[in-house]
Symmetry: C2
Subunit: 291 residues, 2 copies
């Protein structure tokens, strides 16, 4: 998002930002905005009074409301950080109640269904571009919010052919101002990629944990703890993510099952060369992409 032309380097600033959903992600957006002096007012919008109070207490928002339409009424920027099944409908309410020219984005882990649903009913002049900050965790709630959550993290901004370049750029600048590394790709490319890098690993991790016998607890060591860590995430949030990206997750799963069958047959047949090759493939990718 860096500009090549010499220009004032002041970060973008907003008078009023509305955050819908003040959990780990929404709360961290609010704290980052306020602690970096990027917004004068941050309105926290949510269903539960306890979460809203907690968000205010940790300095994530300056005011709160349970009324979405009223909460966005003065917002220049609206960031929707709720579970994926709620995002499209809330984005449309925000688009219809925020001031003219307000920019709307979201933080959902899947993009194709959300972006298509919003663009289908986009009001004239409405500005919406989807986002996905890769900063989730098995932790949740405003109590886990951190102002530096996005620093150095990838945020994927997902414009379509209908997205004005200025809107896409403005959304990218917002995340960059929170310290993120911003990438642009289509909602389809995003969903295909995260099916392999996030959704499939989550599903597999949960299934691995589920088949572990509690009497084997003394034999649990670092490998199991690492491999199953994300299984501690909220099952309902992840049910929504997996179902809203079901076709891409099924495609990634088919690839995985093919490898799994190959590994099982190698074990059954005592084919050590084949087994070693499969393990070496995994190590090569891990060494290349991990750190």
């Amino acid at each position: 998002m860096a500009s090549a032309a010499p220009m004032p380097t002041a970060p973008p600033a907003w008078d009023t930002v509305a955050i819908v959903g003040v959990g780990l992600i929404g709360g961290s957006v609010g704290r980052a905005l306020l602690e970096r002096g990027l917004a004068k007012q941050v309105v926290g919008i949510g269903h539960r009074a306890t979460s809203l109070r907690a968000a205010k207490k940790v300095g994530a928002v300056t005011s709160t409301t349970t009324d979405l339409a009223r909460g966005v009424a003065r917002a220049n920027l609206v960031v929707i950080c709720t579970p994926v099944e709620q995002i499209a409908a809330q984005a449309l309410v925000a688009l219809n109640h925020a001031p003219a020219g307000a920019l709307i984005t979201d933080a959902g882990s899947t993009k194709q269904q959300i972006v298509a649903a919003v663009e289908k009913k986009l009001p004239p002049g409405g500005r919406f571009v989807g986002s996905h900050p890769m900063a989730g965790s098995e932790k949740s709630g405003p109590g886990e919010a951190r102002a530096d959550l996005f620093v150095g993290r990838a945020v994927i901004v997902t414009p379509t052919k209908k997205s004005p370049a200025a809107d896409t750029e403005a959304v990218g600048e917002f995340w960059a101002a929170l310290g993120a590394r911003v990438f642009m790709m289509s909602p389809e490319a995003h969903d295909r990629a995260v099916a392999g890098t996030s959704h499939l690993p989550h599903l597999i991790s949960a299934l691995l944990a589920a088949v572990t016998r509690s009497e084997d607890a003394p034999l649990i060591a670092g490998g199991w703890l690492d491999t199953t860590r994300v299984a501690g995430g909220d099952p309902e949030l992840w049910r929504q993510i997996l179902q809203s990206n079901d076709q891409q997750v099924l495609a990634a799963l088919a690839q995985f099952e093919k490898q799994l069958t190959s590994a099982r047959r190698a074990l059954e047949r005592g084919d050590g060369a084949r087994l070693a090759k499969l393990l070496a493939q995994g190590k090569a990718v891990r060494d290349a992409l991990g750190n």
Copy 2:
């Protein structure tokens, strides 16, 4: 391993300990013994002169040799820390060349095949009880060795009906003296348990990494890094571990594949309730057994 009777609390001490294989585990055993003053001499035994030199340089051994029979000739205790396929044969050489009364144990990740092979040819008066320190890592080599590697870690000691109680206890005291929490179970129970807590997770982690596309690297975040961390381990070491525990790994894999099929069908049919239940099962086990 604590005794209820009042007795001198000095830790067990050995005049000479021989360590066969001076990688992460063997090197850490040596460093722990020497830094805790538990052994006067530690003989490092290995194939490669470079590893032996490195082990001596980091303070893991006091002398080195590539000759197993000569290396154990004065040892009161021999700890075999080589890849699992080499352990039984080396244990038998050690049993036949160490002084009368020397205690032999190992650090192999599987126990049934190794213990059976050693007991089958145990010389009269030979003292062997298998062990498995749950302290492996995707790192390897004597350069990674740490004196505190075993502190607080579980070590499983696997006696059989043939093991004299005094030998089992002495092996347990050895690991306890390095700071480990010692558990006792049969080789069969051990192998069944680690198939689920270690071997299956390793295999799955490697397969998950293998199906990740390199062009998706920007979308890799903490979940993928955790879930695939152990895939960075040595493929040949893990090929040996998986094959030497193939029946138990296949049994654990069958359980996993059953869950996987259930999850795939839930996704295919849009059965959100079933999917949520599977994810909740995983979270329940992770929350109960993890930390």
